[in-house]
Subunit: 205 residues, 2 copies
DNA sequence: ATATTTTCAGAACGATTGTTCTTTAACTTG
DNA sequence: CAAGTTAAAGAACAATCGTTCTGAAAATAT
């Protein structure tokens, strides 16, 4: 009942590409170019996957894109969300979170902004599957922020925790968008600081 | 020195399309589909412009897209920015602004979100012209919000006015993105309310 | 060894892409 | 009316799109 003999080699010809590296390369290409602009030819070249294998593994361009988004969420977004803690004071945790957001969105000049907020959002306009995926990814981050906020004491007059979390998520996405336009980390840090300050003000009120 | 005889008919065969209506149709198609996914065929059909006229007037797809973005800024974003006033208390003006943002992003189910934040942002990944356009449009809104904020008294400890404006712009864009994922106006209103409340808290501190 | 299985490399597919060109239609001007 | 001018309609363009298919290559199993 082990399912697969992971240590044992498969029977046929071994694949000439490394699956995780291939997915990361596809992710970066989609991130840079957008879903429509990234062609199968480019993807096949960047991932070093033969086209046949690409269709075998992911069923097509849309499947590879969704897999890239999942890979992005696991390897890029999860660490950012992890910065929320709780591992210290609320202000510190939120600052660390936004710092990670800015680093993600500006870290590589070839991939400015966010794959989800800047690329998936575009294709979500008419594609129902992509729209559902976008909705789920957005909701997941908001839930994570909410979880951090409810671990905190709030005055009775403060806005709903979920609303505050959604606002913070909106700021994070606005920062990602601003990075897509070429904004530097130093220009984005004050935006994050203002958001943190305003939330701390509400908690102290 | 009048430039053009506006009342007088042009010399050759009259155009069979209405330029402003055509631009609005192109804008809506780009808004719904994205830049890459909207084809010249679709655009020509939606605008009722013959392809030859489309190339004559706008030089190509990119030119039509940039013209659509300008038309969008004038007809859709300008009224939203106008809601900022100043025409009343800060909280009222900001609420009116966000209400207009939500209405714009959710008003037509065929065009969820924002042409600039959800569509132009995608193509800005690799196209330098589009990226510069995005940067300029973002900066313009932030300047407009800053202008509203500086007309207000603030405590000395409050964040920089420009930073606050950029944060509010980020929230607005985050709301647009959330609308792209299918969020209803009722789900977005609390996000706006939280942003307004947090800024008012800072001013009262 | 042969058989079997899996992948690779690339040709091939029809469809569609953005763009240009050609011909015809519909006007104003002289 | 004829001449001149502008736009419409759509054919034509090479290029590229996403996808499928074919035959050879490289491994294990018997």
């Amino acid at each position: 009942m082990t399912g697969e003999d992971v240590g044992r080699r498969r029977k046929g010809r071994p694949r000439g590409f490394e699956p995780t590296a291939a997915l990361d390369a596809a992710m970066r290409l989609f991130w840079a170019e957008g879903f429509e602009a990234a062609s199968i030819d480019q993807l096949s070249r960047a991932t070093r996957m033969p086209r046949a294998s690409l269709y075998q593994e992911y069923g097509g361009k849309a499947g590879l894109f969704l897999a890239s988004v999942a890979h992005y969420a696991e390897t890029r977004i999860a660490p950012v969300a992890a910065a929320l803690g709780p591992s210290g004071a609320l202000g510190n945790d939120l600052s660390a979170f936004f710092q990670a957001v800015i680093a993600l969105a500006t870290g590589d000049a070839a991939t400015p902004g966010c794959l989800i907020s800047c690329v998936l959002a575009d294709s979500a306009g008419t594609n129902a599957v992509f729209r559902a995926e976008l909705d789920q990814r957005f909701a997941a981050l908001e839930a994570r922020i909410t979880a951090r906020l409810v671990a905190e004491p709030w005055p009775a007059a403060a806005p709903d925790r979920a609303a505050l979390a959604a606002m913070l998520a909106a700021v994070a996405r606005g920062i990602m968008l601003r990075a897509r336009s070429g904004a530097a980390p130093k220009a984005l840090a004050p935006v994050a600081d203002a958001a943190v300050a305003s939330v701390l003000c509400l908690r102290a009120a």
